[in-house]
């Protein structure tokens, strides 16, 4: 899971304090693996250095928790590009797929279209692996099959998620 891009996504929703970002990240994306506070502020520091967020004025009671972070145009553009682009179809990317779908729903974006383009990317990779099976030997076929079964498993998740998008959107936004 890409922590910087996920934090940018949460900031795209609304300007937030580091504390709020950590709380929302842990509740939705952490799943029993909370993000260390140090990592949150280090990430926000790098995003600010790279011009993707700006730090608002410190509020009364100074300290890192009192700073409000705001996404910049550059940050929003980068996040948008990441969100809408299918990722390389390979095994074990379920956390990225999950993050993209949840963030798209959270922000009212077209999650169905994202899932469709991701399905197309997965099928394209499956076709490449089928070609490797056809052209290669038994060992190549065995390895290709391993990839194919994982991609199929992702695709089942994509189809199930697509069928449940309305209910998911309601759950994510509540």
């Amino acid at each position: 899971m890409s922590v910087p891009l996920t934090l940018l996504g949460l900031l795209e929703r609304e300007p937030s304090h580091g504390y709020d970002l950590k709380r929302d990240y842990d509740a939705v994306f952490g799943r029993g693996k909370p993000l260390p506070s140090g990592q949150v502020y280090a990430t926000l520091g790098r995003l600010a250095r790279d011009g993707k967020v700006v730090v608002g004025e410190a509020e009364a009671g100074a300290g890192p928790d009192r700073k409000r972070y705001v996404i910049t145009e550059q940050g929003a553009t980068e996040f948008e590009a990441w969100l809408t682009e299918p990722v390389e179809a390979e095994p074990h990317l379920q956390t990225v797929l999950f993050a993209k779908v949840v963030l798209a729903l959270m922000l009212g974006r077209d999650a169905a279209r994202y899932l469709d383009t991701q399905r197309a990317a997965h099928l394209r990779r499956m076709r490449e692996l089928m070609e490797i099976k056809r052209a290669g030997g038994m060992v190549d076929a065995l390895l290709a099959d391993h990839g194919l079964f994982h991609l199929e498993s992702d695709l089942r998740w994509i189809d199930l998620t697509a069928a449940r998008l309305d209910a998911l959107a309601e759950a994510v936004r509540s």
Partner: protein, 240 residues
Amino acid sequence: MNADNLPAKPSSPSRIFEARDVVLSFGQTPALQGAGLTVEDGEILAIMGPSGSGKTTLLHCLAGILTPDSGEIHFAGRRLDTMSETERSVLRRDRFGFVFQFGQLVPELTAEENIALPLLLGGTRRTAALKAAGEWFERLGLDGLQQRRSGELSGGQAQRVALARGLVARPEVLFADEPTGSLDSLTGEHVMDLLVAAAREQGTTVIVVTHEPRVAAYTDREVIVRDGKVSSYSVDRVGS
């Protein structure tokens, strides 16, 4: 009108099917709600989508089995949806082949007779039809099963017989509805390997309805049917 009078098969690559804004309801239940699709000659296309999305209904409309309530379906430059039932029947017999999920072999006939059936129905003499059917046994690894009836064949053998029956008359288009749906992974792959190899060799266009990504991965392109409409997405660039 005989299907033989239809315009000649266009030279490849060209559009063999075009469906525009196809609507079809079963009573009060809408099945297709403005479905559109084009298929190139020689293409192997997968129609995917959730159960009840309308993908089999779309296949049946393209094959002239069902008539849309509205919209147009063009096959090889001619309106298919306005043809008479007789014309469509001739078209299905002479220019289309079919493979279904459960083979649907005629139980009273031998495997050899089942494969020869489309030729026999098309007027080919029995000896010539059985000879043509016989050529498929070695090709599909079915040697020695010529005289078996469907009840004496395994699922994979029966589906290979069904595949040979679908292709024996060298159709321009093969329609396949969940052709591996009743088979285990390995047998399903074997059937798809044979289907694709035979179709490519004959230049047959294949339209396959499937919910299995592995089957779709054998095809050139997939479209998704959802709520009676068709969408397709191509991916030109993949990031990380």
